[in-house]
Symmetry: C3
Subunit: 144 residues, 3 copies
């Protein structure tokens, strides 16, 4: 069994942002020389997601608005006024820990005949919910 | 390492619908002759999900109602009136791209002693959020 | 290819609860002697989740409140009054089948150099949404 492991460092220069991982994952699949297998791509931080959806800026703006409506950013610590108990730790990122559950931690993609086996519009993204600092995405490939 | 790859084509003759994938995945696991491994099952389209939950029609109707309440279908393009920026591309399926994030793109299931290793009520489904056209589900099996 | 399969039995003595799986999964990865591979950890029941997020009790209480706001427990069967069609089966756990979709069925984690390859704050949890009975979590490890 072949394998390849790589941590991709990134820093989003604002609180939230969506960044394509597609080219980098394609490069790593090629480098692994795996012909048949699977690749796992996951955020290594619990205030970020990896997801697969459309490469379309309007949709990404819709996600922003939607996630904010489901779980608003609020630096407060009192549930009665819309705050989060988690923020009593001194953080202000409780909303980010919730948003990442909606969008997901990881994706697993098949590798077939040496290539990512994706549908025509599937595109791999990193979603940062609490940026302005360096974070990592893990790519793990196994197969033959 | 053994492997098996198959794309399952399907066409749901309406906008939304839930279809069992269980028998087809069981058949493919058997055909793969993998005794110990994993199977990945994912929608190849970004307006559909693969998920595991109860094979019970009342629950499926509850999901329909719930997802519609979290992210309503709306062909409009103006956020102020409940529409989506994504629909400015000429599509009317922005809600579908959101619903699929709640229900998930993929499932990974263990194969043990040649069989799908599922709990007693676990059942594999495809969830179409923008149908009336042909789409694909990918099944990828790896193991020994 | 090496492999290891284990079902972990658990009983949460109330309707809902969050329990760490970290030590047990670490133990199994070590026992598997896999150096490079993947581990799948999934709830075998459709009213429970496995997820990775912060080991912080305030956040867990926030999740409880948030999930209840998105999909309230309601033993009723009439949608018009906030109930669920699924509860016509005689169950009262329709909300649990929804909550598990938000939090997810499974996680897949890389194994690198014989260890779980997790970020600094990633912690593996079981989330019970309909407890007071024995349930299982599956751990499946494959690799070399």
């Amino acid at each position: 069994m072949k394998h390849l492991t790589e941590e991709i460092w990134m820093e989003i220069p604002k609180r939230r942002g969506i960044v394509s991982l597609q080219a980098e994952v394609e490069r790593l699949v090629k480098a692994s020389r795996v012909r048949e297998g699977m690749v796992l791509i996951n955020a290594m931080h619990i205030t970020a997601s990896v997801f697969i959806n459309d490469n379309e800026s309007g949709l990404h703006a819709d996600y922003e608005r939607w996630l904010e409506s489901l779980v608003p950013f609020h630096p407060g610590t009192e549930p009665e006024t819309g705050g989060y108990l988690h923020n009593r730790t001194g953080e202000d990122n409780a909303d980010a820990h919730h948003k990442r559950q909606i969008m997901g931690r990881e994706v697993v993609i098949a590798i077939t005949q040496g290539k990512l086996h994706l549908g025509p519009w599937e595109h791999i993204f990193y979603y940062e919910f609490d940026g302005n600092r360096r974070k990592r995405v893990l790519v793990k490939i196994i197969g033959d």
